[in-house]
Assembly symmetry: D2
Homo-oligomer: 309 residues x 4
């Protein structure tokens, strides 16, 4: 018996128009592109979706579009990303109305927080919604780390249905996987946000992965998952290593001109445009766009890794 | 000639009811309490106002209530605190409709940022509104620091009307004050967020201060400002030192039970309640409340510093 | 063909007397304990050895004792841990005189540093010694991270003979392993400092591991290595998971009374004493010792994990 | 009654030869240059002295040279900078033998630390030496902050004779000054490491300042101190603002080529050479030197601020 939230669950990029409105047609094509590759779920309105850059009405449009377009074929997890409890609760209400299968929630941010307050945050939200709540551990964004003991305790109490671990702290990830097993939390989904260790994390016992790079090459990540299910870790490793090379596209945007977020999102979207998935590689402000030369370098890497002729 | 935004500009606490709704009557009493003390402006929806804890409809209620109640007697600055440009722009629209005199805007947060992106953020917002924009430098919340050269450049270009510096980096504050003078930026308001160095910062050339503790003792801060205007730095220092003792109320909440934000906001609100300004010391979730014993310690400090009989 | 520095290479704890002098007899017993378990090398004067707590004459005694006692049976790597180039160079001279097989060197610390300065640091030390230099990536101690591209470049240029990666950043670890293969750096040793992911890191292509916990259970780590060499990853995983449980001894020291270093070193040494390897669990000042109750909890965990009857 | 350690106490730069040995003649000239300007004490082997770059025998040469050359005219404080207690104790022994008037000691670094361990560190060192111990609060180097309550408690207990506060946290500095007064700690020296707020910190009640920039312009800092003693804060402010402009020399070294330490130390030494105080601007490895163009910019700033014709 597996958890509901498992396998390859890409955090779906949000295609935009030049006026920064959501490009709904490209978004639907992205969903098709991912489902055709065989992904096991979709995560909308996460960091890779530029959730922090989207006004509420854009967020609503994204979740409604994707839930509608997916039409139940795979679970749709919706990021409800905001600073603290009452604000997150409103996003959860919106997600529920849109038909989300689960919501994904970080620790408080901007406000200074504390482990006791993080626990209270999740417990209060649990009282507020019927939807499964997946904790989102992303210290680079929220500047605190979810403690694995707290997460497991909240899982036991039925507060959390899973965790998306984007902390990069793999020892704590292993503690989650082991703690899940020890406590018999079969329905608790342990998902890694790693793009570069998906084979490894699945070997350790992860239920699934949420790799941003799957927007560019979903077939590759689905293959890793299948190879690992089949016990062919050598094939999985080889595919993962190809994707590690592909991942170097995120380092092309010049560091003196833009942040690492702009470089990564710009690279994902440029690659998706080059592959014909989306119409426009624009990212939301104040992110800085890649220039033509940088896009050419991305094109070259796509060719080297077999994604362009 | 002074800037429009100057003097003592308290960041107004947001009184709440038990159900976490805005307590409008207590909010109006808080405004009266501050105006009666002679403050020179009000800053609503800042960190001390628990802005990160308030849903948009609560934010709207706060700004409309305060702008209406103040009725032009002093300028009202409104915090438009959200992660990135498009989201902040929506808050600015709301502030404009409510009649704000200026908006206060941080660097992007949650999303990884970059100096070039921070600059773009402010410039794009400048194109979007007629309202004066005050930059809000608060690294403990947004996890980046505004560079003083960038701030001065944006001031020269008319993008920024002022800065509220809560960075605690006083050398950079001095560079702002000196840069303002050197570049002849007479209308650019340099405000410190410090509560403990108001005399000092005014001596260095600050136009004003935005001390959270002024919610508890506005008369004290207004006195410091007047003493400094009158050239009586000894009296200002003595008053500041009394307030430094008062400020120890923020350390009473037990660190093993709550974060430093809970402890500070809980202390401010408990003190305001003890002084009869607000009806209820509740703070927004997931903040942890002070217990009765802790409130008694606050009461004792208020007595020692002359605020209770 | 494997690198010289490979397999399980424990960072050897430094047993102390009550007067904080080196307990040479216990040190020799520790070496025997580790060699009897079949470890492939020893790393003295690393963080787990309390190198930062040992005066130079204690450091000299440790390296001379261990090199002499090992007598060439396995390679002995010696940590030359100091703030900057000239100071490290003196430790390297001492290590050379003592007969070290390699030296282990961090990026500069205390002083603010820069990637260009880190590169210069290693290149200048390379000019200074014939001994192989292993880079030590330990951001929790030195507060900067070694860039994997820089490390690979220094490996290609013959400056570095290996890296001990205690950064916990496993994506960058994977980049090192892959970069080593792509560039044909067969003699370059990629060692993980992880205690909890040894099976995983070996599966990724690590040449070896330097787990502090091997001071307590070297047999377990040697077994993981052998299982992985034999292709039995299930057995390796099972053993690793037992060791993960054992590793919980480092969390017993009370956080309100001591730092995480005191708790970990105190736990390792208490466990070694309980197992009869060393005479005294004392740690160097200003570390805080575990109390009797805490030691009893460690004893219980040793029993649960099969290390005590 | 003033403390022994007060007034302007420059952290003395350590002039080096091309082979990175100490340039004793230039060091003596530096001491003369500073004493002629009227400084009230000297601090050798601090961060500005490149203490983290100097082998022990260079450190010994520096302290012996300066103590001997000063010959009791002003107090000489000696930095005993090393990772933990036993290592610091050895530096204190050396300082005592050299005739230091006080030693300056940071919290532990490299090793993970804890407030309880920091307290134990200072108390154990107090038991070890008769020399006055000045705590050195420098979070940018040691990555922890000294708590002002702890410092005041150690002062009351006779453990600490003073503090050099280079934390830049001026609210905590004010708490120190006020705590000193409240507790009647007349002999406890509160010194600021600020270069840009010396007038301000003296106004707040600091006993003195330890500004690195005083190596370049000791006359300026002595003038600020005298103006403040005379109650002429306007003159002090004007002089401080000139020095703030001078301080921009530390930003000239290109950030893509060197760290902020290299840029600052290189600038100080280049300026001292341009002023004829030292023979050679070389800094210790692995610091990166300024290039000719950068030195020309420094020359221009020295001319603008009245230090070169």
């Amino acid at each position: 018996m597996a958890t509901t939230f498992r396998g390859i669950v890409p955090p779906v990029c949000t295609p935009l128009r030049d006026n920064f409105g959501v490009d709904v047609r490209s978004l639907c094509r992205t969903v098709d592109f991912l489902l055709d590759a065989g992904v096991h779920g979709l995560f909308v309105l996460g960091s890779t979706s530029e959730v922090a850059y989207l006004p509420d009405r854009h967020r609503a449009l994204v979740m409604e579009t994707v839930v509608d377009h997916v039409a139940g074929r795979v679970p749709v997890l919706v990021g409800c990303i905001d600073t603290t409890t009452l604000r997150v609760a409103e996003h959860i209400d919106m997600a529920g109305q849109a038909g989300a299968d689960a919501v994904v929630v970080t620790a408080p941010f901007y406000a200074r927080t504390h482990p006791g307050e993080i626990e209270l945050h999740y417990r209060m939200l649990r009282d507020r919604t019927e939807l499964p709540i997946v904790a989102y551990d992303i210290p680079t964004a929220v500047h605190s780390k979810l403690d694995s003991d707290l997460v497991l305790r909240l899982a036991e109490d039925g507060v959390l249905a899973g965790i998306k671990d984007s902390s990069g702290a793999d020892a704590s990830f292993r503690a989650l996987v082991l703690g899940k097993r020890d406590r018999g939390l079969r329905d608790f989904a342990v998902l890694t946000g790693s793009e570069l260790l998906v084979d490894t994390m699945l070997a350790l016992g992860a239920d699934g992965a949420v790799p941003g790079l799957a927007n560019v090459d979903p077939v590759g990540f689905v293959a890793i998952h299948r190879f690992m299910s089949d016990g062919d870790s050598a094939a999985a490793r080889s595919e993962q290593e190809r994707l590690l090379r592909l991942f170097s596209i995120i380092d092309i945007g010049a560091p003196d001109r833009m942040g690492r977020g702009s470089a990564a999102l710009g690279a994902f979207k440029s690659a998706m445009k080059l592959r014909g998935v989306i119409d426009n590689a624009v990212t939301a402000p104040p992110q800085v766009p890649l220039d033509d030369e940088e896009v050419k370098q991305i094109e070259a890497i796509l060719a080297e890794t077999g994604l362009l002729p």
